[in-house]
Amino acid sequence: MKVRATQAILECLLEQDVDTVFGYPGGTILNLYDELYHYQDKIKHILTAHEQGASHAADGYARSTGKVGVCFATSGPGATNLTTGIATAYMDSSPVVFITCNVSEELLGRDSFQEVDITGIAMPITKATYLVRDPQTIPDVMRQAFAVAATGRPGPVLIDFLKNVTALNVMIDYEFIPWTENRNTDSIRELAVSHGLKAPEPDLNDIETLVDLIAQAEKPLLICGGGVVRGRAHEQFREFAEKMDAPVAITVMGGGGFPGAHPLTTGMIGMHGTQASNVACNTCDLLIAVGCRFSDRVALKPATFAQQAKIVHIDIDRSEIDKNVRTDHHIIGSAKRVLAELNQRLPQYHRTEWKGQILSLLEDQQIDEQDKLTPSQVLDAIEQAVPEGSIVATDVGQHQMWSIQHFHFQYPGQLLTSGGFGTMGFGLGAAIGAKVGNPDKVVIHTTGDGCFRMNCHELATVQYYNLPIITVVFNNGTLGMVRQWQHLIYQEHYSQTTLDRAPDFVKLAEAYGLKGRRVTNRQEMKEAMEEALTCGCGYVIDCMIDMDEMVRPMVPGGAHITDFLLK
């Protein structure tokens, strides 16, 4: 069947069950937006205030729904505005297909208006990039892009169409093939063979070896990493942990992979990890890390990391093995498959002594009873007010660590946070994506005054699409995490971190047609949450907290995991 090239692009989105796209139009992508006009009833387009917001929204949509996110932008500045969002998705292995259009063939390479080599720019921050110069290749490229983004270790892919390729008079051969079937087309099958697009099947011998290692171990520790979340392997991981009867430490990206309130949880591990997690890591005799890449925020000092333990690494990405930490054994495969196989072979263990030794280090969460508002009071008020299972999107910094330490995430996609790239300004976009993808869930956006100022213009998107997102600003008038380092490591030289400046976030919310309230104590915070949950529109709570609040505990970068600078 002959169809317009632009029609093929959108039909290919439908093949992948895409019904929502985030983006921002412009000169070179006009043809695609013209086609989108005819697809309004099939594809919902969310117009953000800025391409960066669209990129984070598509990412947040992907993380919270488990589907592939899609984001459109025009050439030049439109495309470069996506880059922070692409890198964020790449570092956290989030599947997003970014579609940009570039100038026409005859203008390419001539420094034309709004021309940039976006495929070149995006190369190190994508799984793959495609520059489409031949319209006939559209179906192949689109299907490949989605297959690459979604399979194996997920991640972002960028497709750049030249404007002439999308010209409305360009017709191509196209046949609708749903994604379940188009993964069998020749080009993708070839790719699957050469690149293991399908998740690698775990080697059963490797699994048997691990079963033996487990049988010899007395003090095992499990780490739940982002791979458990991306692979939606939470049920298998839980069964594994319960059979092992061993403590479970959770990385930032692993939040939601294992129930935060489970009796085996030792909480976060690493730089702001709990005493229980970090001590367990230092004393265990077997460490099994699932879908975790031993980043410098977890394995702060690789040479002494889990030095008494045999380290076992389960990961879908072979290149992660022995990259940061030398391991004793590894299994390549999806967390889901590996753990399912493993669970079948494991007996029920009982480790009362070891478990007790570690879990007794866990302290009960203390909510400060001070008159002035504290971060734990804010988080407690949120937790008390929202229904169970509400989604939390964070920005980056102190509020991010406080949020992750405080909330007990129960399922994958409940926590949306920029763990790898640490992108300030990620939260609001991600919250928008999450709310669009999960309209029935309450979505909380926790942020700091520094982060919020970076992308607060997305409140326009919150207003226009009537997304009742609750933004909670931990307003300490400073770049809190940087200040914390300056306080502890830089002799209190508060260089350029004090943010005593506009705007008034409540008035800002009102200017965007939303509601807001400034709170200075626990009671006001409680009232604000009640109002926010019932007002039916976006709501900004400006929480005035002290600028010297710190994230505890803390182990400085590069230090041994139990050398706490702050307890």
Binding site: M123, P124, L191, S194, H195, R318, S319, D322
Partner: protein, 161 residues
């Protein structure tokens, strides 16, 4: 220790960029890189020489394997491969030194590609070691210009990567 990595890639624009980009991004030092099309015009072969420890080479191999455009990666064992490099070398040569240069060329199996009243341009294809030796022998005559291709390599015997 120098190791030779042979990579088959799709022969299309941007692939070399992606591979060299990977090396700089991951802070891998490469000693040489040679690329050319194979008998299949859609496939190019890249030969990379890395002078690093085993763990780095292992990472290079794994990271290369992840690139969509990369078809196959193999580290070639020193003893089980044929590695050759081509050098073009222009030296000062006059009626007094010309004969000495010719003698060395004969011994080393090098070819004279060009000659002028004051210079000779020589060509040698050989193992990197012998190329080094040749270069050292020519140095006293004053090397004017020199270019090397970087090593290309195939494994010995009937096998393919």
């Amino acid at each position: 220790m120098k190791q030779t990595i042979s990579v088959l890639v799709e022969n299309q624009a941007g692939v070399l960029n992606r591979i060299t980009g990977l090396f700089s991004r991951r802070a891998f030092n490469i000693e040489s890189l040679a690329v050319g099309v194979t008998d299949d015009p859609t496939v190019s072969r890249i030969t990379i020489i890395v002078d690093s420890g085993n763990s780095v080479v292992e990472q290079v191999e794994k990271q290369l394997n992840k690139l969509i455009e990369v078809i196959k990666v193999r580290t070639l064992e020193e003893t089980a491969m044929i590695g050759r490099e081509l050098i073009l070398l222009k030296v000062n040569a006059n009626h007094k030194t010309r004969q000495d240069i010719m003698t060395i060329c004969e011994i080393m199996g090098a070819k004279v590609d060009d000659i002028s009243p004051s210079s000779m341009t020589l060509e040698l294809s050989d193992t990197p070691d012998r190329i080094e030796t040749f270069e050292a022998l020519m140095r006293p005559f004053c090397i004017l210009e020199e270019v090397r291709t970087g090593v290309i390599a195939l494994q010995k015997g009937g096998g393919k990567i």
